[in-house]
Symmetry: C2
Subunit: 393 residues, 2 copies
């Protein structure tokens, strides 16, 4: 018998709660407000078809050959160009989705037992990406404006136990939908610099604002103290798996070596596709259509919540952009216990507990307003109300 011995870290890996829920929601007829799948209406399929033909006709051999681990130079230049601070393209590393950026950051910055700070609650995929490197994840208290800097100072640790970084998602956060205010951003950057604490800033949703852009990124305020992560998944399409990070010059080489070891490079073809689609200001015309769609769907959800859930004592956030809205059930209720009842009523969501590094608030849950249509959102929220009424203690 072959004796397979698993690494210690394998015990700390877990199937994604969200992906398990998504399996349940594949049952026909269910309205899923659970997953964070961008609306397929927003995918510029025809533009990709033209770009694919163009790239293969004029640059086919390079698109299909091995390539540099750093990424495709014109794409790195385009990214450096659209970021709102002075970025050298040499500091841009193309990643296979921004999930891979989390994996690389974990490998380069986390030792077993290293203290890593996250928001309360935080993005589940980041917890999963960090887990194999076995950090001690510590939640920093947060309010509607973002991370509370006094608690940050209290949790940062010292000496060998000093936190390696704070992972933070300032714009239209996953899962809460909240956005850090200008004042809190500056406070956070100043305090982190005073503490000598690196920041890992994740910004997949920043372009999806409804009425006005969010305040400038944390990294723009202190580029040497931050690693910044971005993604094309929400403004073009997630199925291409194209993200990037921007790192300080002395950290970049190690992230690049981790990238080489992880998958040599992100697909050459996909990088050229996106560079081609982005030409001539395409995003400037395309992204406003996504904003308008998501704003309308968010308003449909807020309207349905007002109608069906306000009378039940449920509270929720009003996001200024992004894809998610955060609910809090009445006292005594549990979102985890509500879920199977909701699925019986043909609607699904993600219980908030999934997003906490430690014990979470059992009354919270996350709703996505981007995948379902307005009509489905109205039906889904009514169904959610019915499920809540059946389980109200």
């Amino acid at each position: 018998m072959t004796a397979w011995t698993l690494a210690q870290r394998a015990a700390k890996m877990n199937p994604s709660v969200i992906r398990e829920i998504l399996k349940v929601t594949e049952k026909p007829g269910i309205i899923s407000l659970a997953g964070g799948l961008p609306s397929p209406q927003t995918f510029p399929v025809e533009s990709f078809a033209q770009a694919a033909a163009q790239v293969l006709a004029h640059d086919g051999v390079s698109a299909l050959q091995y390539a540099a681990s750093e990424g495709y130079t014109p794409l790195r230049e385009a990214i450096a160009g659209f970021l709102p601070w002075d970025v050298d393209p040499d500091q841009v590393l193309i990643t296979t989705g921004s999930q891979q950026a989390l994996d690389l950051i974990a490998k380069v910055l986390i030792d077993e037992g290293s203290r890593v700070l996250v928001e309360t609650p935080t993005y589940l995929g980041a917890l999963q990406a960090f887990a194999p490197m076995e950090p001690q994840v510590v939640a920093v208290a947060s309010d509607d404006e973002g991370v509370l800097v006094d608690d940050l100072a209290a949790q940062v640790g010292s000496g060998a136990d000093k936190a390696r970084f704070l992972y933070v998602l300032p714009n239209f956060q996953n899962p809460t939908g909240r956005t850090m205010t200008e004042a809190r951003r500056q406070q956070l950057v100043d305090r982190a610099a005073a503490l000598g604490l690196p920041l890992v800033e994740d910004n997949p949703y920043g372009d999806l604002w409804f009425d006005q852009p969010p305040p400038p990124p944390l990294t723009a305020r202190n580029p040497d103290g931050c690693i910044y992560m971005g993604s094309f998944s929400k403004v073009l399409a997630p199925g291409l798996r194209l993200g990037f990070l921007v790192a300080p010059r002395h950290i970049y080489p190690k992230l690049l070596q981790a990238k080489q070891a992880a998958d040599l490079h992100t697909p050459s073809f996909n990088q050229r596709l996106v560079a081609e689609v982005m030409k001539n200001g395409f995003l400037d015309r395309h992204v406003p259509t996504i904003r308008a769609l998501y704003k309308a769907q968010c308003e449909a959800m807020l309207g349905a919540l007002e109608e069906h859930l306000r009378p039940l004592g449920v509270h929720w956030s009003r996001p200024a952009g992004g894809m998610f809205l955060w609910l809090r059930l009445p006292q005594g209720m549990s979102a985890t216990q509500l879920l199977p009842r909701a699925v019986e009523h043909n609607v699904a969501f993600v219980p908030g507990a999934a997003f906490y590094a430690g014990d979470g608030d059992p009354r919270t849950l996350r709703l996505s307003f981007v995948t379902a249509s307005e009509a489905q959102i109205r039906t889904g929220i009514a169904a959610l109300a019915a499920a809540i009424q059946m389980t109200t203690p």
Copy 2:
């Protein structure tokens, strides 16, 4: 000042020697026999253009959306169908190139200090992928037929120090070009089973045989004792980054969880592209053209070696397929010292030392016969001979 503290493992990551050499060889006019870049002549650019148009016209939304971490079902089924043993598609995990499979295997099976066995010499990319998990890599003595099983038994270790697996590349090995004989394969599988030692079998080149296919894979002989890795990089195109692994049922879930955390899933579009291109027996028509080209280029190199290097006392392998040929310089010479002199003569190779887990044979070097044309190969080998003559002690 921000206090960036790197993980301990970061010190064990190094830039790829090969990628550093490739940078040198980008100087105009140099003939590179160094890199393992498939001949761009073999890329079916037109077939990919048709497939891209087809996929985006008929399945565009799915091709651009998030997808299951396991991979695209029709592609997993096609892979299970062409492998020469009974494979359930549920055991196939699609990876972002087979380099990623190495990363996932390392995460799931290697603890800090774990003993991991490799051939002498072995694939450099595997050493790089394993390095971040900080194994103790032990080289098993090998001859022209492959791994020596008595040395395997001597190196396997016991108790907590028992090797987690042997990594082995049986077909047209990178870097030596050697192929394990049928007898040695069966001996190895039997001995590994008796020792309870898992095998990680890497097979990126198996389809690139010249006159006859290599013997059946190790995994076909003991599927529960092996993880098998394959790739589309050498039979279609590396720029799509599409590989796969096949794992025993009880190991698969952990590899899948590592995959989720690493990049969520391999690009949906690329998986559909390859599934589309492979329809109607395309590989059965396409791969023979690659075999014929590489065989002709290998023969051109063997002819040039015979003419220019035999008189200098250089020895080399005669591969039965694949992309590489292995040279041994006369006594007293060093391939590492030869390289700058060769570059002055406008030809490049990879010194063998890069491919050894421990101290390597300094007289060895790797030549690729697939990237350069026959004419370039003849010019390059003549230049190599001139460089050797200048440095002969």
